[in-house]
């Protein structure tokens, strides 16, 4: 089936019930999206379906009817998205494994709520688990990204 990922169309030959996560990682070789739990409990696999942040481990290939954006499509070293820039400036990552998902979730939040309060951040981000405990810096980075995006 046809899948558009980060603006590139792919023809994928796989089961309709294969989770998008594994299509992205093992078939298309996009390793920025991470496997953490497989049951939508950790958020490490967060990507966008259209404009919406979804857990790719619980999104089945057969149900993908919109373009997919992964962390690789958001920005890359040397050409960072404002959210990624804030993540670097605030030195958020420890092990970094959950951060692709955190950033995709945060970017979706900022697209919908450009100036989120702490409560709105907590609400939007609570599905994204970080075992290292980077939450204080995630909050700070989201506020910083919001300010930077407002300033343009």
């Amino acid at each position: 089936m046809r899948l558009v990922v980060n603006g590139v169309a792919h023809e994928v030959e796989a089961e309709g019930d294969m989770p998008l996560l594994w299509v992205l990682r093992d078939i298309l070789g996009l390793h920025g999206v991470k496997y953490g739990c497989g049951i939508a409990q950790c958020g490490a696999c967060t990507v966008w379906l259209g404009q919406q942040a979804v857990r790719s481990c619980q999104t089945f290939l057969g149900d993908v009817d919109q373009p997919v954006t992964t962390i690789e499509g958001l920005g890359h070293p040397g050409a960072l998205d404002p959210v990624q820039e804030a993540w670097v400036a605030h030195q958020v990552a420890q092990c970094g494994y959950c951060q692709s998902g955190q950033i995709m979730q945060a970017a979706a939040l900022l697209a919908e709520t450009p100036q989120p309060t702490d409560a709105q951040i907590d609400d939007a981000m609570q599905g994204n688990l970080c075992r290292c405990g980077t939450y204080p810096r995630i909050r700070a980075a989201i506020h910083a990204a919001a300010a930077a995006m407002k300033a343009g």
């Binding site: 093992d26 070789g29 497989g38 030195q91 420890q94 494994y97 290292c132 405990g133 939450y135």
Partner: protein, 748 residues
């Protein structure tokens, strides 16, 4: 001979026994670096000045031979070297380098010695140094025990200074100038006229120069990287999805595998029917492995799916089958024949506690098994080709893992190469090499084909080597508003014996991990006794971020809070009266100031304080909780710690936050329980951890008081649970003596 001297003699015996006659060569020989492992496979045109530096025309690589698992040790180690070598921080690259006993960790063993961290006596120092000898002979290229920075603080700076000295000589040879007119800066030698000779352009001359053995180090006043808010290496990769963890390994022609092992630890397979799985879509092979089976397929998901189709009958567990029976075993271990240590015994505790009319308080505490559950599940990629085994994996003990893999694949150790990759967390899990050996075993079943083996989250959680469960029984006596006697008995399985047993290493003497964080606390109490009891192993156990102190910090401090409350004493002021160690006093004072201790709190809030000295680092934490309609909300937390020297302040802050959160998050809701011999929790839905909406506002302060340098990956964990318990008691009147607290109170 006093008690301390006897203990010292015993611990030194541990060192000399494993050094096996090597002592005769003299201690100093063993701590000089071994052969330079970077000489092998060095690219043409490149040069290695010592085991920590590679110069190549395209740039400079610093070898930071410790695991990158989020704790920031690699970046901080490179920073130490870069300081002395005057490297351009933004341009240098960091690599883990090859596994080698040259990179032994001399500080990792120090925590296991029976000296309190605040002991600066000659005997204590001698024993810690003997640990360096032992570590080298044990091949301990180990990342753990918050030891990377104490181990590397001198080594990395010396390596940098030695490399700089070579490059200065190289520049002198090229220019004919005297050494004393040359300077260095930003990866270059600077001539008197301002001309810059880039280090990498001096490779031809540098090759022939022998580095000095003991180059002078910069005075602290000249540091320009150490202690500065320098951005950590690797952050951009980890913010763009471009960091390549073990699980992201790709090789041409690679296949994908997963495994299932008996959830009854150590037990085998009774019956295996792989027929349906073998014919499932994408499956290449289903093969038996030690204690289970592996499915090899053309992608990970298909391997996961096919593993569900295998019919297997597991042999039963040989240890008590459920948590109730396991805790019963712990409860029955407070006996003379299971007594493991009594490292602290001051005054006549029995007499003090049994005196007529004495106000004695007694309480029993317990804590469950806990899983490490790093977010990146266990995985490894392996290729067995022409009798040569190559492995790519995250790992904290590369030399042991390589030899375990060799045994599993049936090749000799010198035919194994292990590439250590960045890790999506570890928290001690990758001190175990089970999954690496397993990948080697799977690779041996499909020779010539690279295979990436990935565990499902469920496999990971049900096959963790957990933090042990434990119980503590405390008795204390209060008199005139003060604690005059404390007796703390702790019973737990030995993590050291369990881990060393799997590595095939003998252990001797008491396991200090059973009582760490309790016996070694710098508090003066007229009569005090801490006794450790060793519970038989049951399920295998391992080191979990902050190890024994993660349990005993809770037991010791939560019980101390009970006693202080009964005494009517202020938790901060009375601790300051009891404290015997200057850095510890300073962190208590700091947390008092940061939290505005004593100021009125909002209505209904509760505030708790706890203090634990572990891994040489005194840490004091204050936690504020607010009861709400939706449950308890942790509003604020304050953390003060003394590191001696703060090498990397941005990372120290991150570790202080992360350590606190790790301690709070597990105390709030996490437990591993057993039923029918297997772990019941299979994923993060049943093993909850603190989420961003539960995360308090956190204030940290890193002090530089003590005279030794310490690591900060673990020490902020132990005080978190008791500080939270104390805060909940103040807010609700409920005394929590068991984790997870969610068994008794609700959180937002």
């Amino acid at each position: 001979m006093g008690r301390t001297a006897k203990i010292a003699r015993r611990s030194l015996l541990i060192g000399s026994a494993v050094a096996a006659g090597g002592i005769a060569f003299g201690y100093w020989r063993f701590v000089t670096p071994g052969p330079n492992p970077l000489q092998t496979g060095l690219a043409p045109g490149a040069a290695t000045l010592n085991p920590y530096v590679i110069l190549a025309p395209e740039g400079i690589t610093v070898i930071a031979p410790r695991a990158a698992m989020g704790q920031g040790a690699q970046s901080a180690l490179a920073l130490l070297l870069a300081e002395e070598m005057d490297l351009d921080w933004d341009a240098l690259r960091i690599a883990h380098g090859p596994p080698s006993d040259t990179y032994y960790n001399g500080a990792a063993a120090a925590e296991a010695l029976p000296f309190v961290p605040a002991d600066h006596s000659l005997l204590a120092r001698a024993a810690r140094e003997a640990g360096q000898v032992a570590a080298k002979f044990l091949g301990l290229q180990l990342t753990g025990g918050s030891s990377s920075i104490p181990d590397g603080f001198d080594k990395m700076r010396r390596a940098g200074a030695a490399a700089r000295a070579v490059l200065l000589q190289a520049a002198a040879r090229r220019t004919g100038l005297q050494l004393d007119v040359l300077k260095t800066g930003n990866s270059a030698v600077i001539l008197p006229d301002g001309t810059r000779l880039r280090y990498v352009d001096l490779i031809p001359e540098a090759r022939g120069i022998t580095p000095p053995q003991d180059p002078p180090l910069k005075p602290r006043a000249d540091w320009r990287l150490i202690g500065q808010r320098v951005p950590r290496k690797g952050i951009e990769a980890r913010s763009t999805g471009t960091e390549r963890y073990g699980i992201d390994m790709v090789l041409p022609g690679m296949v994908f595998a997963t495994v299932r092992r008996n959830p009854h630890f150590g037990a085998g397979v009774l019956h295996l029917d792989t027929m349906r799985a073998a014919s499932a879509r994408g499956v290449k092979k289903v093969v038996p492995v030690q204690g289970g089976f592996a499915v090899i397929a053309d992608n990970t998901w298909r391997a996961f799916q096919a593993a569900e189709l295998v019919k297997v009958a597991w042999a039963p567990a040989t240890y008590p089958a459920d948590s109730a029976a396991m805790f019963a075993e712990v409860a029955s271990s407070f006996t003379d024949d299971r007594r493991d240590s009594r490292l602290k015994h001051v005054g006549d505790v029995e007499a003090a506690l049994s005196a007529p009319g004495a106000q004695v308080i007694a309480a029993e505490y317990r804590a469950p098994y806990l899983a490490h559950a790093p977010l990146e599940p266990m995985n490894a990629t392996a290729l067995l080709k022409d009798g040569v085994l190559t492995i790519w994996a995250g790992c904290q003990v590369p030399l042991y893992a390589a030899s375990a893999a060799a045994r599993a694949a049936g090749v000799s150790t010198d035919r194994v190469t292990l590439h250590v990759l960045p890790m999506g967390g570890s928290f001690g899990r990758r001190l175990e090499d089970d999954f690496i050996a397993q990948a080697a075993e799977v690779a041996a079943a499909i020779p010539g084909v690279p295979v990436k083996m990935t565990w499902s989250r469920e496999e990971d959680m049900t096959h963790d080597f957990c933090r042990p469960l434990a119980m503590a029984r405390g008795r204390g006596r209060i008199e005139k508003g003060r604690i005059v006697a404390l007796d703390l008995a702790i019973a737990a399985p030995s993590t050291t014996a369990s881990q060393m047993g799997r590595l095939g290493l003998p252990t001797m003497g008491p396991d200090t991990a059973i009582v760490a964080g309790a016996w070694d606390q710098p508090l003066a109490i007229p009569a005090v006794r801490v006794t450790g009891y060793r519970v038989p192993e049951m399920a295998p156990v391992s080191s979990w971020r902050s190890v024994g102190a993660s349990l005993n910090g809770f037991f010791h401090e939560a019980f101390l809070d009970e006693l202080l409350h009964a005494a009517g004493a202020d938790p901060l002021h009375e601790r300051l009266c009891m404290i015997t160690d200057v850095p510890s006093r300073k962190v208590l004072e700091a947390v008092g100031e940061m939290s505005d201790w004593g100021a009125p709190q909002p209505d209904g809030w509760g505030r708790g304080l706890a203090f634990t000295l572990s891994f040489g680092v005194p840490v004091a934490e204050v936690v504020d909780v607010e009861p709400t309609d939706q449950g308890l909300r942790i509003r604020r937390a304050f953390v003060a710690a003394d590191l001696g020297v703060v090498v990397d302040p941005l990372n120290a802050e991150a570790q202080m936050q992360g350590g606190l959160i790790w301690g709070l998050g597990h105390a709030m809701g996490a437990e591993i329980t057993f039923a029918q011999g297997a772990i019941e929790q299979r994923n993060f839905d049943s093993y909850p951890f603190l989420r961003i909406n539960q995360c308090p506002e956190i204030h940290t302060r890193a002090l530089e008081v003590g005279d030794r340098v310490h690591g900060i990956g673990e020490p902020c964990v132990p005080p978190a649970a008791p500080a939270l318990a104390a805060a909940i008691f103040r807010a609700t009147g409920k005394r929590l003596r068991e984790t997870p607290f969610s068994l008794q109170v609700g959180f937002i």
